[in-house]
Symmetry: C2
Subunit: 173 residues, 2 copies
């Protein structure tokens, strides 16, 4: 809790969602100390070791870097969230989406670093991702939610099983 | 029922699933009359009017052709199923998948023409699609199933909500 909450009142935190203008635009800036800010990017030149560290931090099992690189290359949208302090950038959030570039997009690998969770940044990351997809005229945005985050996505406007539509996974028989 | 059942005994129909060798290889051939066969293809040069007709036949709402073309272009895999009689080809089934080319694929728009349904061809189409995705080293094959086809996919090895994972759709608030 402490870190960001000590910087911003709740109004400041709420305003995160309305200040997602463009890539590289700070969404949270520390008015007391302008050398710290948080921003989003859709650039794909992410250090894969830094991304691995982020995923490690939330306990995800490791994946071959070669495949992660390929997945990033072939995702329709890649969103990263950064903390910048002075000249130092730190990767603190990530999300990506596959798509047919026309009708459907599916969001994968949504993550916020534990030190930055519960401060509204997951919500900001999702809103930014949704906005980018909507800008590309994608109307059907989907995802597969682990049980413990269903309510997180629900707050973001996602419905589980709408009209009985079921998410299904294939397992070899 | 009549059409294929009159050609093949049930053993013949069952063997559809084991004869999915390669693109262009017939999966069902009429031994009494070699001028009729059914085959699969992953070629993308599908006549969009023919595809529209197929989707009309199962009552799907029409989609702008410009977007359908784009979606086909940007799908990872496009599978079509054809009936060939003499020199005439007819599009009788379709499926496609989006993917990050590494971990995940999501199957969309699975359809078999009503005249050819309940003959094992939907199953053959799905098996072919899954096989193609597995050949590309995709381990996580997903889809969103309408309620009336959940059991169709279940027979194909798809599990709804495994470990509580929920398929979710975004709707603007
Ligand atoms: C899920 C995750 C991205 C949320 O990020 P976050 O920055 O903590 O979320 P926020 O602070 O923006 O929370 C936004 C809202 O969702 C709620 N929320 C956050 N996590 C939640 C959860 N696990 N369950 C239910 N609600 C949750 C918050 O209370 C907040 O509600 P509010 O708008 O009423 O205040 C983050 O916890 C995470 O990375 N978890 C580990 C990785 C993971 O499980 N990813 C999802 C894989 S499907
Ligand atoms: C769903 C669809 C592709 C199935 O094709 P099909 O050629 O009729 O299916 P098959 O004959 O290969 O059936 C395979 C098995 O699934 C079963 N099955 C077929 N349709 C089913 C359904 N709607 N519900 C439950 N089981 C079904 C069959 O009984 C058969 O079972 P068996 O292996 O025990 O014999 C086809 O009905 C269709 O195109 N429907 C309209 C479009 C649609 O709804 N697509 C799915 C969108 S999510």
């Amino acid at each position: 809790m402490g870190f960001w909450k000590s910087f911003f009142g709740s109004a400041e935190t709420a305003s995160i969602q309305t200040r997602l203008e463009a890539d590289g635009v700070p969404v949270v800036s520390d008015r007391a100390d302008t050398s710290t800010r948080i921003f989003f990017s859709t650039e794909r030149d992410i250090d894969l070791y830094e991304l691995e560290e982020l995923c490690d931090a939330v306990g995800w099992s490791r994946r071959p870097m070669r495949k992660v690189r390929k997945a990033i290359q072939h995702s329709f949208l890649v969103v990263s969230m950064w903390q910048q302090r002075g000249v130092t950038r730190r990767l603190i959030g990530f999300a990506r989406a596959t798509s047919d570039h026309a009708f459907n997009a599916t969001i994968w690998d949504v993550v916020v670093h534990p030190e930055f969770q519960t401060k509204g940044l997951g919500k900001a990351l999702m809103r930014y991702t949704i906005k980018k997809l909507r800008n590309e005229d994608i109307s059907n945005i989907t995802l597969f939610a682990d049980p413990h985050v269903v309510n997180f996505y629900r707050r973001m406007g996602f419905m589980p099983d709408p009209e009985g539509i079921k998410g299904m996974f294939w397992y070899p028989d």
